[in-house]
């Protein structure tokens, strides 16, 4: 199957995610490819935020949809959009990627050390500020416990509701709230400029 088929499939497929996923569950690659094209951009953006690198985001994008394909028969949808589920998978893939690759070293390589300002044009300064901020945030996430980091990634980066995060992690909502509260307090210390 060529990727062109997938593009054509999107253009010709008005089906909702539920219908497409049901077809994918029966091995329909065109339906799965249509799902890919529908959600690839959102998954890419989330992965880019979690990795700070277009190269890593591409890896995560592909890994997310491969995982989704392999697990396609396990998934059941209660609503019409697959996007939140795919974002959750992408977050997990991004964490796995960072851990597997040696997070600190690769992160420093990809994001780069906080660069010196050499150009005072607004655009360049803003870009450098963004990279610095990303560097700080990803480094701060590494300071959190695994439990807190998982909740922060789902609630504050993927911006999923706390109740859904609770269900995803299999913990009470009250626990999510307390973890978010404690994580936010910790992040306020680590990221005084970003988290208020």
């Amino acid at each position: 199957m060529s990727t062109e088929e997938g593009v054509a499939g999107v253009a010709a497929a008005p089906d909702d995610d539920h219908t497409l996923w049901a077809a994918a569950g029966n091995g329909d690659r065109q339906a799965f490819t249509a799902l890919y094209h529908r959600h690839a951009d959102a998954v890419w953006r989330h992965a880019h935020r979690l990795t700070g690198s277009p190269t890593a985001a591409e890896d995560v994008l592909a890994a997310t949809f491969l995982t989704a394909w392999r697990r396609r028969s396990d998934v059941r949808f209660a609503a019409d959009s697959a996007r939140p589920w795919l974002l959750a998978v992408a977050g997990n893939e991004a964490r796995t990627e960072r851990r597997r690759s040696g997070r600190h070293e690769r992160l420093a390589h990809r994001v780069g050390a906080a660069p010196a300002v050499r150009d005072h044009s607004d655009a360049v300064v803003a870009q450098i500020d963004d990279r610095r901020r990303l560097h700080r945030v990803l480094a701060a996430l590494d300071e959190l416990s695994a439990d807190h980091r998982a909740v922060v990634e789902l609630c504050m980066i993927a911006e999923l509701p706390q109740a859904d995060t609770a269900r995803a992690l299999g913990i009470p909502e009250a626990t999510v709230r307390s973890r978010i509260h404690r994580a936010r307090a910790r992040l306020r210390v680590l990221l005084a400029e970003e988290v208020r």
Binding site: W69, V75, A79, P84, D130, V137, R167, R177
Partner: protein
């Protein structure tokens, strides 16, 4: 910018889109895919995949598929948190007044309810034409409620039985307006993107967003989250460092009760459920009285007791008497009907619980620990659902991340379906 101040990510370049798709398509032919990944991480991914499907429903829930809007001519109640209810006739919203489709049916359904609430209440002149409305953010909250930001200008809270719409930001002296959307939820309208702060001290909430949904539970008084019974007169609001009053000055949202849903009647089981729901932050369910108990699960000494509840055909949930955390309620949208049992809602605290659908044909459901000894324990079948609970006897999980194996037996598949 999100809460962590992360910059917006760039769009997916077309060449990357195609290259990644090619990788996926090639990998789909591989029997092991990314088998080189360390096993613990793959297990973690599988665990997240298994439970994350429940995210989808709540994120995109617009109020539920099973409860139609009230027919034309039916009275609806227009209420506001701080003013006396009034009654307005229902006028059906013609298709020509609906916002343009967004491509997301759940968002379209929720936005249509928001638009209908404005039009039906005779307040349409205070808003942009409904045909021009666009949802610029749609977030699910709790099991069945969702928050929409419309045109990056005002907010709408959609619950199973009602809709609350903030006004469009008034031209106030401070440039910021706080709106009470429900007893536990505020919206801060900030069209000039000024720096506002709600509360004081390290627990204050500060932002520059044009529209901010702010649960009261996110604010604290001496370390205790606020709830709807607390006085808001002591919670300051500042804009650009200057005083802008207190939360007591919040104006009420336009609230329309647009769906006729039954409320919980008094009974011992209702009282128990009410006490369980009361342990949740006040913003999780705008009207917790809509949760109605439908049965009790007896843990039989091998798991905690629980009460199963539902909101019509919209949502189901249960209160599990967790030995670690006490009575704990969790809910989820009811999935679309199917012939086979479906997982709905798993719980993992000081015990395990799983709620599944039990369509006709399911004869029994049983649960046992995924690892270690343990005889199968019967699950309780009630109202087309089955609830299983087990005590948590250890930290171990199966390789796929599951703690409890649930098997549903049907007439067609008497060997059982592992959920």
């Amino acid at each position: 910018m999100n809460e962590l101040g992360l910059p917006p990510a760039p769009p997916l370049p077309p060449e990357v889109r195609e290259r990644a798709l090619r990788t996926v398509l090639d990998g789909m032919d591989s029997p092991i895919g990314r088998a080189s990944r360390p096993a613990p991480y793959a297990a973690a991914a599988a665990s997240l995949v298994a439970v994350a499907a429940t995210i989808v429903a709540a994120l995109s829930s617009g109020g539920g598929p099973g409860e139609p809007l009230l027919p034309a001519g039916t009275p609806v109640t227009v209420v506001a948190p701080t003013i006396a209810p009034t009654v307005e006739p229902v006028e059906p919203l013609p298709a020509s007044d609906l916002p343009a489709p967004s491509g997301d049916p759940a968002t379209d359904t929720a936005l249509a309810r928001c638009a209908a609430a404005v039009v039906r209440s005779g307040r349409a002149a205070e808003y942009p034409p409904t045909t021009q409305w666009q949802s610029t953010n749609h977030l699910g909250t709790g099991a069945v409620e969702s928050q929409l930001t419309v045109d990056d200008s005002f907010g709408c809270l959609v619950t199973p039985g009602s809709v609350a719409v903030s006004g469009v930001a008034a031209d106030t002296a401070t440039g910021v307006q706080v709106v009470r959307m429900s007893p536990g939820l505020l919206v801060v309208l900030n069209p000039q993107e000024r720096r506002f702060t709600v509360g004081s001290g390290p627990q204050a909430w500060s932002d520059t967003a044009r529209v901010t949904f702010l649960p009261l539970s996110m604010l604290q008084d001496d370390g205790v989250p606020l709830d709807s019974t607390d006085s808001l007169a002591d919670v300051p609001v500042t804009v650009d460092g200057g005083s802008a009053g207190t939360l007591q000055d919040a104006v009420p949202a336009l609230t329309v009760v647009d769906r006729a849903l039954p409320h919980r009647a008094d009974s011992p089981q209702s009282a128990e459920l009410a006490a369980c729901l009361a342990r949740l932050p006040v913003d999780v369910y705008t009207d917790p009285e809509l949760w109605i108990p439908v049965g009790r699960h007896d843990g039989g000494g091998t798991g905690p007791d629980a009460i199963v509840a539902r909101i019509g055909d919209i949502a189901v949930g249960y209160c599990v008497d967790d030995p670690g955390g006490g009575p704990t309620f969790t809910g989820a949208p009811l999935p679309a009907p199917g012939d086979r049992p479906q997982r709905i809602l798993a719980y993992r605290g000081g015990s395990w619980a799983l709620l599944i659908t039990a369509p006709p044909g399911v004869t029994r459901v049983e649960a046992r620990p995924a690892i270690g000894p343990g005889d199968p324990q019967p699950c309780t079948m009630v109202d087309g659902l089955a609830l299983c609970t087990l005590d948590d006897d250890g930290p171990v999980s199966a390789a796929d991340g599951q703690d409890m194996l649930v098997t549903a037996f049907t007439e067609a598949e008497p060997q059982g379906i592992v959920m």
